[in-house]
Symmetry: C2
Subunit: 417 residues, 2 copies
């Protein structure tokens, strides 16, 4: 089916078509943060809409929308969120609907609103699911054996830091850290000289699982509420010195930025595509069938303080080797439980495209080859005041389904560490 | 000063002397979980005591005690918890005090109560701070270079899983996982054959820090609420296959057990001792002076289903190379923020004693040398229905300050993974 035209003007190039309707937390004027839904250039104030009775048939308490996080809404399950979106689609396409008549009270321009971190994140897990990324990075450090022996048998992952996940727009302070200078045998404590971004897609858990009870592949989608765009900031020089033998720690935990808008799993379903063939075939609990990847066009731009943004990377999430069902089945195969609000991210997404490198470590071959910005500047790693802008969207017949952007500017390191 | 005798009989061998008074969450009869304080064989029902006006001068709302976690209490800061303990010490040593007169209503026998996870844990960080442990484990895998070059320059750590932290007494299901059989080139998915414990001390954050603002060594103690005993369960065969290049994941995230009782930082202060000399001297932001280790006697026992407990390990937390101030200073040196409820653990504690190995991996030299139980049984790794019991306490002139125990039994793996 196609939606009838909305009484609200929605540009065809908007990420927030009627087919999308992502959830977020916004505030405007002097009101406290609360749940909103993006459509075109507007935010629907869900509290105001609920108070008008718009969602009465969905039987959702108004208080669910008066929260400063989406957790209570997510806890209501995918089916409830789906009902809310269906009601909004109907309201937005019906002339003189309740929403239409109360548009003045219910709609807030996005440019007038302030966006907040949408979710209270419990645990944050970061995967390493792009074959191109793992191969490109592996080649830099282990040319003879780029992929570890385990890589094609399980979706490698590590636990990240939840406290420092922040919403798009919040700047990132260049971190200090221990770095081993070339040829030295003792480290120095300096601001990172190798600050990098990582282009990722993340998804948020919308249902608690039971400790000791693995989630099977075919159940996994019940546990997914929606997706966000993720920039997993990384300090490569700090990482190189600290990561043996227990993995990255301070090189990653100073900040992770996510998009303001959570695109529901249901809105992404029309973008499903088959993923790459998996050879060797994974063990039975991870051997998946069907189209469970998503065709989401991704790009990264760097915006220097004194110039226009240059697009550095263009790729697509469809290339990811391990899909989200496999990630959930693997994560819980030990009996580890998932909770509402947990964030699971893909790891850096790189593709086969010549400019499909999802981080500077890859693009510059570990700092050896500078990349040119459109304004003539060059970059190996990020400079102070550079702003990194990531965008992601899919296109399907009923409209564009996008994340908006995740953006953040680099601030100089503290003067006194 | 010494405390006068209490009107409540407290055994000299009790972990819960007047000098301790640790906090926990308990329930009994049909009442909901709430805050309690352990003393001798009893729990002081803090809600009941507050309702009697016992804490009026501390100006703590009764609702702080009616919670199912300690987070609200911890958020009130160390000084508030200290005032509460001082009032309790006075009440417990004053004949006919309010608490004494209402003892029937306020005191619950520990054996009649059910203990709950004391804290809603935000992020869980696990360090690797025992030199003996890192050296012993390193020798098994890299005899020529047991310690990584970074080890003496920073307290190595990784992010753990908060969702699966559980309270003492909750059993642990033997996890399934991918394991590479000897000589094979592809893994199998089986119940772990190398289930291990790790003896650790953990501490809980009681004050939010600011993102981008490192905590200096001399400020670090302001952020510590108290300590727990930790068993960081590990599956060594799963760990060996999965951990490259991003560190342990499923081999650790199926369960972590902590003690029911949170011993306040203030109660541990009389147990302070100097730690080992640090050579080379750490960089300035980690170079600490003074006595910041704790003399806490630790032991691990295994209790097979059909026998008596055998003590496997006896050591002391004083041997830890990196202290908690250094752990906090390092953790936040990148700008990473800490939040009330975060758990930071020491990593496996081993000491120089002949039986001072804090895990079976070390004690059995990676599964090569079985250890003998007192009943004649042997163990390489844990069997189904084995119960692991850890205890920890310090002794000072005013009484014993202990954690009670952290115990859990191993249940067989699921039949259908």
């Amino acid at each position: 089916m196609n939606f009838p035209a909305s009484w609200l003007p929605i540009s065809e190039s908007s990420d927030f078509s009627l087919a999308n309707l992502p959830f977020g937390i916004f505030s405007h004027a002097s009101q406290p943060p609360r749940v909103g839904v993006a459509v075109g250039e507007y935010i629907i104030d869900m509290t105001a809409a609920a108070q008008l009775g718009v969602f009465d048939q969905a039987e959702v308490a108004v208080s669910v929308f008066e929260q400063s996080t989406l957790n209570a809404l997510m806890n209501g399950g995918r089916a409830q969120a789906s009902r809310l979106r269906t009601i909004l689609q109907h309201e937005l396409t019906t002339p003189n609907s309740t929403l239409h008549q109360a548009a003045d009270r219910v709609l807030v321009r996005q440019k007038d609103a302030h966006m907040h971190l949408p979710v209270a994140i419990g645990d944050y897990t970061d995967f390493y699911s792009s074959l191109e990324h793992a191969t490109n990075v592996g080649k830099l450090f282990r040319p003879e054996q780029p992929l570890m022996p385990n890589w094609k048998h399980l979706p490698v992952a590590y636990h990240g830091r939840a406290s420092s996940v922040q919403v798009s727009g919040v700047p990132v302070r260049r971190p200090f850290g221990q770095v081993l200078p070339a040829g030295a045998d003792a480290p120095v404590f300096i601001p990172t000289q190798a600050l990098d971004y990582e282009l990722e897609l993340g998804f948020l858990i919308g249902k608690n699982s039971i400790s000791g009870r693995p989630i099977r592949l075919e159940e996994a989608e019940d546990y997914i509420f929606g997706f966000v765009l993720v920039n997993d900031w990384s300090a490569r020089d700090i990482q190189r010195w600290e990561y043996q033998p227990l993995g990255p720690f301070l090189s990653k935990n100073f900040a992770t930025s996510i998009s303001s808008w959570v695109v529901t799993y249901d809105a992404l379903l029309p973008l499903r595509v088959f993923g790459p063939e998996q050879t060797p075939r994974p063990l039975p609990h991870l051997a998946d069938e069907g189209a469970h990847n998503f065709s989401i066009q991704l790009e990264v731009a760097i915006n220097p303080a004194d110039a226009e943004p240059s697009i550095f990377c263009q790729t697509n999430a469809r290339h990811l080797y391990w899909n989200v069902r496999q990630q959930i089945a693997h994560h819980t195969s030990s009996g580890c439980n998932l909770r509402v609000g947990d964030l699971l991210a893909s790891g850096t997404i790189s593709g086969p495209e010549p400019n499909g490198h999802g981080c500077l470590l890859e693009q510059t071959q570990a700092g050896k080859i500078p990349v040119n910005l459109q304004d003539g500047n060059q970059r190996i790693y990020l400079h102070d005041y550079d702003e990194v802008i990531m965008r992601g969207y899919g296109v399907q017949p009923q409209g564009r389904v996008g994340f908006g952007e995740v953006r953040a500017q680099i601030l100089p390191a503290n003067e006194n560490p």
